[in-house]
Amino acid sequence: MQSLSNRAKKLEKKPMNFSERMYLPAIFQGLTITMRHFFKKKATISYPEQTRPMSAVWRGLHVLKRDEKGRERCTACGLCAVACPAEAITMVAGERKRGEEGLYREEKYAVSYEINMLRCIFCGLCEEACPKAAIFLQNDKTAPARYERDEFIYGKDRLVEPMPATGNNQ
């Protein structure tokens, strides 16, 4: 049959010679290949002890930042919740009382702030939406595996950045 493209290659089926029919050289060749793999460097990273290096722009676990005086930056404006495509963020806003100026930066603050890590897709849109530079996705932490679904709803206790050791509120 005439080939249309003239690119077809004619394959010749040669009868196997004696050493090929014995299969032993081929088996030996295969054994050397597997032996080379035996001594090769292993691809496994034994995870809990060893972790992969993460990129500088990696979007991992969220953190709610404090300002330079140790006050929470978040004002519960809700822009992050609106920006969130997975609807993972909920919050309840509250008014700052007299005497709490050292705790919250603005007159309004988040009484509760929850992120559902099972819904979150770690896109980073909350970070972009935030006008107060309060929420960031860290590049060195991930949300670890847990046994209960409830444990994946991160409240303020796990999201807010811990107080710096040498704060102004001493």
Partner: protein
């Protein structure tokens, strides 16, 4: 005098049995490690240091699984199958000489559980019984895939035992004894002035090749693992088995590998003999100890070879298996017998 001999002999029997089981246990671990290393992984490493308690964890897991017996299975035979498999596998290591002799109170005691002068025939008989365990288990499951696996195991074992027997006959012509202890002793004689190097592999290379191929088939290992071929038969003869019934079948396979490796090392690779063993002027018991270490080195190499081949070669098709057995190995082994016999006759006629 008699009591020390009895005591030492009892200790040797216990040690041989214990070592057989221990090596089979750790073969499962070694298999997983070798598989992992060949596939660029690191293998089990969580249970204990380097994963060394993995066999214990596996055994505990198997013991706690439900012992399931199918509704229409023959209960007695269903339980007998794996037990028989395990029993015959453990019996075979009794006649293998695991070392030379120990000198105690001026008496030589051979490091061999049972000294019989038909050792190789005994091993053949016991290993051939092993297929009954598979056959009974496969049939008693009342499952067509189990039965197909069992039939494959039986026909494969029969086909390859012929070629194996023929390769042994050629070896018997060379050694002119059936006793494994005597064969091992003969291989300790000097060859080209090096003591302990008179190995049968130098006289029977083709016989060894046939023997090792048949040993793979007899132990149902890749590339001859058609009885348990998952792609065609689900799990073959142990499809219906769970818990320790399954465990015993798998364990029996590793005991068989150990026995096959020990037999190959004893028949063809000098047994407990190692080069220069009598030239160094060491005391008798030290030489025996080193010989035992050498034998286990050879056995471990063969066990590793079994695993190495498993993760290298794909499985045969059934007709290829039968072609290889009947059309290639058997004629080749018969030719080997004839050529060996002719050479021996020629030597007797013209050189002595």
């Amino acid at each position: 005098m008699e009591s020390t001999v009895f005591l030492v002999k009892a200790l040797i029997i216990l040690a041989v049995f214990g070592v057989t089981l221990l090596i089979a246990t750790y073969s499962t671990y070694a298999e997983r490690k070798v598989a992992a290393f060949i596939q660029d992984r690191i293998g089990p490493n969580r249970a204990g240091p380097l994963g060394l308690f993995q066999p214990l964890a596996d055994a505990v897991k198997l013991f706690f699984k439900e012992e399931f017996v199918p509704a229409n299975a023959n209960k007695f035979l269903f339980i007998l199958g794996p037990s028989l498999s395990m029993l015959t596998a453990c019996m075979a290591s009794a006649v293998i000489p695991f070392g030379g002799s120990i000198l105690i109170d001026g008496q030589y005691i051979n490091v061999q559980a049972i000294e019989v002068n038909i050792g190789i025939l005994y091993i053949f008989g016991v290993v051939a019984l092993g297929v009954y365990g598979i056959m009974i288990g496969g049939w008693a499951s009342n499952n067509k895939f189990s039965l197909l696996g069992a039939i494959r195991a039986a026909s494969q074992n029969i086909s390859y035992e012929l070629a194996m027997g023929m390769s042994i006959i050629a070896l018997l012509l060379v050694t002119s004894t059936l006793s494994l202890g005597e064969m091992a002793r003969q291989q300790g004689e000097p060859l080209f002035g090096i003591s302990g190097m008179n190995w049968n592999i130098f006289y029977q290379p083709l016989g060894f090749l046939i023997f090792i191929i048949c040993a793979f088939a007899e132990t149902n290992r890749v590339p001859f693992d058609l009885p348990e071929c998952e792609t065609e038969l689900i799990g073959g003869y142990h499809t219906e088995y769970s818990s320790m019934g399954m465990g015993l079948y798998l364990f029996a396979e590793y005991v068989n590998i150990f026995v096959a490796s020990a037999v190959m090392a004893t028949l063809y690779f000098g047994g407990y003999n190692f080069p220069f063993m009598y030239d160094m002027g060491l005391p008798h018991n030290i030489v025996t100890l080193l010989g035992t270490v050498a034998l286990f080195g050879k056995i471990f190499f063969f066990i590793f070879f079994f695993m190495w081949v498993r993760w290298t070669l794909p499985r045969f098709r059934y007709d290829q298996l039968m072609n290889l057995g009947w059309k290639i190995l058997i004629p080749l082994s018969i030719a080997n017998v004839i050529v060996t016999a002719a050479i021996i006759l020629f030597k007797q006629e013209y050189f002595q």
